[in-house]
């Protein structure tokens, strides 16, 4: 009994003394810690979609179309921050310099608040922005992400499908659409 207690005590001390090690990694490296939606999936989707959309005729024409970002519906069984995906797509497209983005629905409150603030008595009237000067988008970007998960004793297979669409707001026509598929399998 005494021996057992000593062993437990030694094990606890050893566990307590185990040194933690932290190191910076490659933010753009392939991440395979689990088969849940991860950074590599987000980066793959954002890059593929942005590059594909740049080839859409309405964007390739060079007329600097104005796009607003709408929701990407998460139809998977896990939590995915789809706003983060659309933010990355928007950043990639913005850097390409062929698209302009109009303020989207979640950013509207902040936009209106700022316009109102500038119209207050604290700002010089000639430099303050006026109401009614905002430019509406010509196209809206929306999409969805779905998944199929299958699991047997030692194997878990996850299939993701991300679909993105660019709709013409004026006439309701679908101007561009593309998909990215990802399969990840984990075996024990």
């Amino acid at each position: 009994m005494k021996n057992l207690l000593v062993l437990v005590a030694v094990a606890l001390i050893a566990a307590g003394c185990a040194k933690e090690k932290t190191a910076y990694g490659d933010a753009r490296g392939v991440e395979t810690v689990t088969n849940q939606f991860g950074s590599t999936d987000l980066q793959l989707i954002a890059e593929t979609m942005a590059r594909s959309m740049q080839q859409a005729s309405v964007i390739a024409s060079g007329n600097l179309p104005i796009v607003t970002v709408q929701e990407v519906k998460n139809k998977t069984s896990e939590y995915i921050d789809t706003r983060s995906i659309t933010d990355s797509i928007r950043a990639e497209l913005q850097k390409g310099g062929r698209v302009r983005f109009a303020v989207d629905a979640p950013g509207m409150t902040q936009q209106i608040d700022e316009v109102k603030r500038q119209q207050s008595e604290y700002y010089a009237k000639e430099a303050a922005v006026e109401k009614g000067q905002m430019v509406g988008a010509q196209y809206r970007m929306e999409g969805n992400i779905t998944s199929i998960v299958k699991e047997v004793k030692n194997t878990k297979d996850v299939y993701y499908k991300f679909n993105l669409q660019l709709w013409n707001i004026r006439n309701g026509l679908l101007e561009w659409s593309d998909e990215k598929e990802i399969r990840k399998t984990t075996t024990r």
């Binding site: 753009r28 392939v30 590599t40 793959l44 590059r51 080839q55 060079g62 850097k95």
Partner: protein, 144 residues
């Protein structure tokens, strides 16, 4: 007699010109549609060597063909990757983009994981992130 000679010379010139365009080096500084600058590229193998780099763990996967074209203002690339081994291979790849001066034309791409079946080919395609990106390198890394 003179007319015949002129016609024969003309036919010869056209034949040579025809053969020259078949090789695919129709534009100086380009091979198979891909920018090569002042590098000497005489074949597809030369182009693959000039445009491919290995980083991290080396892989036996090799591009066998790289072809480029323009999609509007953007450079579009198709690269055929070959796995001639008898086992499935897992790699990661990315493209590195340069501008006319050889400077980075965009931030580093993310590594893209890829699985290749044994004795198989896979075509990877991409398009330049912006119009400034006029040259590239295909970077490969083993994931095994």
């Amino acid at each position: 007699m003179k007319t015949r000679l002129i016609l024969a010379a003309l036919a010869g010139t056209m034949l040579i010109a025809g053969c020259a365009t078949k090789k695919g080096f129709e534009q100086p500084g380009y091979a198979f549609g891909c920018p090569i600058g002042d590098q000497k590229v005489g074949s597809m193998d030369d182009l693959v060597k000039a445009k491919t780099a290995m980083e991290g763990h080396r892989t036996t996967i090799q591009p066998t063909e790289i072809r480029c074209t323009k999609a509007g203002e953007l450079l579009k690339i198709d690269a055929n990757l070959n796995n001639d081994s008898s086992s499935v291979k897992r790699i990661a790849y990315k493209f590195r983009w340069m501008d006319r001066e050889g400077m980075r034309a965009s931030e580093e791409e993310s590594w893209k994981p890829l699985m290749l079946y044994n004795n198989s080919n896979m075509m990877v395609s991409t398009v330049a992130p912006n119009a400034k990106a006029v040259d590239f390198r295909l970077i490969l890394m083993s994931q095994e």
